[in-house]
Symmetry: C2
Subunit: 343 residues, 2 copies
DNA sequence: TCTCGTCCATAAATGCTTTCATAGAATACA
DNA sequence: TGTATTCTATGAAAGCATTTATGGACGAGA
């Protein structure tokens, strides 16, 4: 059943059927009714491929993320998909993993699929070595690229992000102001935002005239799901005699590991160890005590990102960067004066 | 840059370019080289829409789930997407929410997008009122439909599931055998698998000659993210004087709430309260003590589902149902003899 | 010389959108 | 009231970029 069949049944040309289908105003009401009646009778829906060929779009947008099962990225995908759907777009999802080459080929595949735009969810697509971002520049030469929580200067690349630097800096400063000078910064990603957070921590130390010790910046290499691994990792540091009275983590799961570690060692939280996570995810309320965490307003970020995306696709001029602030949500693992989260 | 341009540059016809592109054997090696060279030089990739029109497929498969940010469904989507990608398919993701009408329209949209097949991830697509499953039957009349963790008898519908009934039954039986006769069954979904689990609980009670009390089967209506809400809910039951020495939950987040409740009330786990969750998700290791949980081998399920899907698309005859067993993973919230998890 | 196989070009088919042209109706003007 | 002008509604046909069925040219083997 194609547009010819419908046109024949309705006694009009295919052009008229097409006009009816696409809501063109130049159709006599009686004709429209006649055509609609036939369409309904046969339950006809236009062939999306043919439509795509003619219009050079199928209204679909690619979402690439490293791992959509990650608590944070899963939420990002969910919010992005929902907003896109409301705007009449559908989403092609690909998980690229964390390997550089795989990220690149995922992007190429998307472009070959002729998506209208591509969204890279998660900052690990941007590297500090700018040469390695070349594949994104190449992609942006073909279709608009939207980055969530990453920053890059490139025409046709639009960034929507949280100021992770500032949020971490403020949190660290608040910890220092509360009297803790030995904050362990714990992170598990060399991604763009991962590094920005690290810099925020360092900056706070500098501002407060505290020496930044390499030992107090620890990189956790284990799986993102292995909370016990984090716990063991911290126990190891403990045994080596490393002393710290706060853990500032780049991700909630690391903070959850820190809480476990403290309990195992009989360390009082937040009395003897303050813990701050990042993302304010479900994990923070599952832990005991609940974990204080920096919320970077993911839902807002995603809504804004999609808004930018839609506007760009509509040919509007859009700012290349939109930056939001993060906010420390205090729960059971800190006891800081509230000003810590204010700007 | 289209296939005509390439054919002109290479001095062959477009048919030959197409043959080269699609790896047809009937091309002289020297011709193939010549064409490939031009293709590489111009970085030509065939237009996916035109290809789709000609072949009536773009090798894409729809994944519909209620909420891809849910811990469990996010994993499901991740595993399914990964397996499909390995097989050369790409995924169009839609989150339908839990409303009946929205589920139906999501499915219709997918079909109009001309996906090759559609995967419904999560059992809430199947309802006990079979009339309400009509939309799935209609969909299956057009393209193959694959259900994860749900059961339905319908041509062109293929089910891959865990035997949630048996897994819950065994867990409940093990609890009873350990001396607990007042098990609170806590659930938050009337979905197919939600009900199967409930029946498993009831069956175990029957088998062990324990009266099934309506009060001991509690439905939690709150958000799937509100662990504290579950805690409050249980505190409420406690205050009403309901007595129970085990919580068997249909989902880990409910179990996490139960653990919180016990701590708040000073109830010893697992001594005075055993807790069993379902899905064996990240939440189980975040909680303290870690939560014993039924693992339904989601990764295996998804791999099998995709295998079935690919086979069906290749025209192979496939069994309409594949059923796996669940397994109780004991952690800190139970102390049962190990045989509980064996069949 | 006939047959067969290999390799490739021509052309039809896929199902839409859209431009262009035009018939007829409606309006303007004398 | 008749003619010129504009609008409205529609059809014909030209894209869009592929795949594939058909058949022809050519060379090799019998």
């Amino acid at each position: 059943m194609n547009i010819y069949d419908i046109s024949k049944q309705a006694g009009v040309s295919i052009a008229t059927v097409s006009r009816v289908l696409n809501g063109s105003p130049n159709v006599k009401p009686s004709t429209r009714r006649k055509v609609m009646e036939v369409i309904d009778r046969y339950g006809y829906t236009p062939n999306a491929f043919a439509r795509g060929l003619g219009l050079d779009t199928m209204n679909s947008i690619g979402i690439i993320c490293a791992d959509s099962s990650d608590l944070y990225l899963a939420k990002a995908v969910y919010y992005i998909e929902g907003n896109l759907r409301k705007n009449g777009y559908n989403c092609i999802l690909t998980c690229s993993g964390y390997e550089h080459g795989d990220k690149e080929s995922a992007l190429t595949l998307m472009i070959n699929q002729r998506v209208d735009a591509v969204i890279l969810a998660g900052s690990n697509y941007i590297e500090t070595d700018t040469d390695r971002n070349l594949y994104i520049r190449n992609a942006a030469a073909q279709i608009p690229v939207f980055l969530l929580n990453a920053d890059m200067d490139c025409p046709n690349v639009f960034c929507t992000m949280c100021d992770d630097f500032k949020a971490t800096q403020e949190a660290a400063a608040a910890l220092i102001d509360s009297g803790v000078t030995d904050i362990l910064y714990l992170y598990n990603s060399h991604s763009y935002s991962g590094l920005r957070k690290l810099e925020g921590y360092q900056s706070a130390c500098h501002m407060r005239n505290i020496a930044v010790s390499g030992e107090l910046m620890q990189f956790y290499e284990g799986s993102r799901e292995d909370i016990d691994g984090v716990c063991r990792f911290l126990c190891g540091l403990h045994e080596q005699g490393l002393s710290f009275h706060a853990v500032l983590a780049s991700e909630d799961m690391l903070a959850a590991g820190a809480v476990k570690y403290a309990k195992l060692q009989g360390i009082d939280i937040p009395g003897d160890l303050a813990v701050i996570g990042y993302n304010n995810s479900l994990l923070t309320t599952c832990s005991d005590p609940e974990i204080s965490s920096i919320d970077n307003h993911l839902e807002t970020l995603c809504a804004q990102l999609v808004r930018t995306c839609i506007s760009v696709l509509n040919g509007e001029d859009m700012p290349p960067k939109v930056i939001y602030s993060g906010e420390l949500i205090q729960k059971g693992t800190t006891r800081l004066p509230v000003s810590g989260s204010q700007k």
